[in-house]
Symmetry: C2
Subunit: 341 residues, 2 copies
DNA sequence: CTGTTAGCGCTTTCAC
DNA sequence: GTGAAAGCGCTAACAG
């Protein structure tokens, strides 16, 4: 039962009767070591329960094998999936993940960035928040970074996200295809790229179908349950209410559901309802919820892959930004149907 | 526009015309520095956009100001809340968080622990998985650690969790109070402390009410949607079916809901349904779901607080284990009601 | 108050 | 193949 809690390469070297450089060579397989001495070192490491000190190594090599991930809200179910996939890929590649939650606060986001810089992470994955200054901060520091899901306005950055314009169109076309002409949209915060793009997709699809976009059927800016409830109440009380309502985030959608219930409107007979972001429980709602699904796992994995490319690749590879865009998928369930009459 | 991407304390010292120890003193406020030189240093830091190298500092001081968090599944909505609260507390105290997901795999858990040891984290928060060897591994390494939610069998460890026995009793008593005598429980994996304890709470409450516990009304071991569906089907097809069913995790609960729907059973008129873990959307289900709620944020915050106590406190403070137990709360909604007749 | 100095544990030339 | 030695950037005695 080894009891050495703190033991260094020197202890291993001493016990094995070799120099520290030999131990290092064995660990890193950087230069050949005679089989016999190799075994002695391995044994000593085992006996002493030796764990290399990653801190010391990092100081020497200048690489930490750690990346930072900053998300605006980890309790938003989309991000855990992204994080999990990224973390898996990272772990397979020998990287650790420093997780930061910016709480949708750009100042906290900046502080997290500072901390990550100080810790000398090799790269950063970032879903930014409103008013983010991350793009400037990152380019000043020249740390490899990939923006995920929520992209900054700037263009010269590496990005991985869903094609949210397509997602918006896809959703809208689904409803149009069912016969809807009056479609409401709770679009969320248009300063956030996903929400902005979905709105654009909505506009495109409506125009292509020669359908008018009414101000009364559109709400932007707010993203909470209460906001969705209020907006949906208003729309559904209109003399000519929409026959379908889409919501760009889950809380807004819950507001729509509640408003429909309040007014004893049946879904989808009286009003169709569609959400963005597909969650496990959408399927188990009553009625089950039609939704746009994003390939969160693919996004997470791809994000790390691009980041690793930036980290390991030649410096000039960083000159032209990398982009990966994934198609959204429509999951048709029972909350959408043909409009009345 | 400062363009120094890589700059050390020596650069700052040179520009300010002082020694590195003075710079260090200014940064750490460890010894007094004359105001005039202090300003010069501060200015130089600003000009060079200097970021102290946490790696070098850690190597010197032996502390990383980083903690590790290992969870079995970050896509289980309970953990993001715990993580967020812990991360918030950590960030306030100047700590960073290394996040690991063990995917319910004890071997991966061990690898994560190794990585965290190598990185010399100051402490570890851990929700362990089935067959976890973490307790032994941690005690061998003598790294401060707090077990969260999922506790190992061993007793000499620091823990923070919900009182799951009370949670089980509370849920059961609620149903008994409504008049139920035949209560089914999908208890989950009894090797996991929360599931184990809830089952115990159920038993206690049933015994106190002099109600029999029937084998046919109890399922343990499985935790997936399909398992819940199968078990609920079976129970509901019994000649004398339970009038209420509780499920120890969300996926099992969804299975119960589905089984009830299949058999055109109305909730709560035909069968009452109750879940453990309260999620945002429970309120928006149709009918809304009665559930036991755990104070996830408090658990997360408290976990970090205890860990910090272990890290900063005197060594002897680590001799007697710390425990924090939070009461569970029952959120009564519409999925539970009096049994028929 | 201030600067000089000696490492923290590791990797990496560079001679042997 | 192997070991001695020089740091990576920082902090913490220790003299001045």
């Amino acid at each position: 039962m080894p009891e050495q809690s703190k033991c260094t390469m020197r202890d291993v070297a001493r016990l094995a009767g070799v120099s520290t450089s030999t131990v290092s060579a064995v660990i890193n397989e950087t230069v050949a070591v005679s089989p016999e001495r190799r075994m002695r070192v391995l044994r000593a490491m085992e006996v002493l329960d030796y764990q290399p000190d990653a801190i010391a190594r990092s100081l020497k090599t200048g690489r930490t094998n750690a990346i930072g991930i900053i998300v605006p809200d980890i309790t938003n179910a989309f991000y855990p999936e992204v994080i999990r996939a990224a973390e898996e890929a990272a772990q397979e590649a020998g990287y650790s993940v420093l997780l930061c939650d910016s709480s949708e606060d750009s100042n906290l986001e900046e502080r997290h960035l500072s901390a990550l810089f100080s810790r000398r992470v090799d790269g950063i994955l970032l879903a930014c928040c409103v008013n983010s200054r991350a793009q400037q901060t990152l380019s000043r520091r020249r740390v490899p970074a990939v923006f995920v899901d929520r992209l900054p306005p700037a263009s010269m950055v590496n990005t991985v996200c869903t094609d949210n314009v397509q997602a918006g169109s896809l959703a809208t076309e689904h409803l149009i295809g069912l016969g809807h002409k009056r479609i409401g949209l709770l679009a969320g915060h248009t300063a956030l790229s996903p929400h902005h793009d979905r709105l654009e997709g909505f506009r495109k699809a409506m125009q292509e179908a020669h359908l008018p976009i009414l101000d009364e059927y559109l709400m932007t800016g707010d993203v909470q349950f209460e906001d969705g409830l209020d907006a949906a109440r208003r729309m559904l009380h209109l003399p000519v209410p929409p026959t379908a309502i889409m919501a760009s985030n889950n809380k807004l959608l819950m507001g729509v559901l509640r408003a429909a219930e309040e007014q004893h409107l049946r879904i989808p007979e009286d009003v169709s309802v569609l959400g963005f972001d597909d969650y496990l429980w959408n399927e188990h709602f009553n009625p089950s919820l039609t939704a746009i699904a994003q390939p969160a796992r693919e996004i997470g994995r791809k994000s790390f892959e691009l980041l690793q490319q930036l980290i390991s690749g030649p410096a000039e590879a960083r000159d032209s930004p990398l982009h990966a865009v994934f198609p959204a998928e429509l999951r048709v369930r029972r909350s959408t149907g043909a409009p009345r009459g």
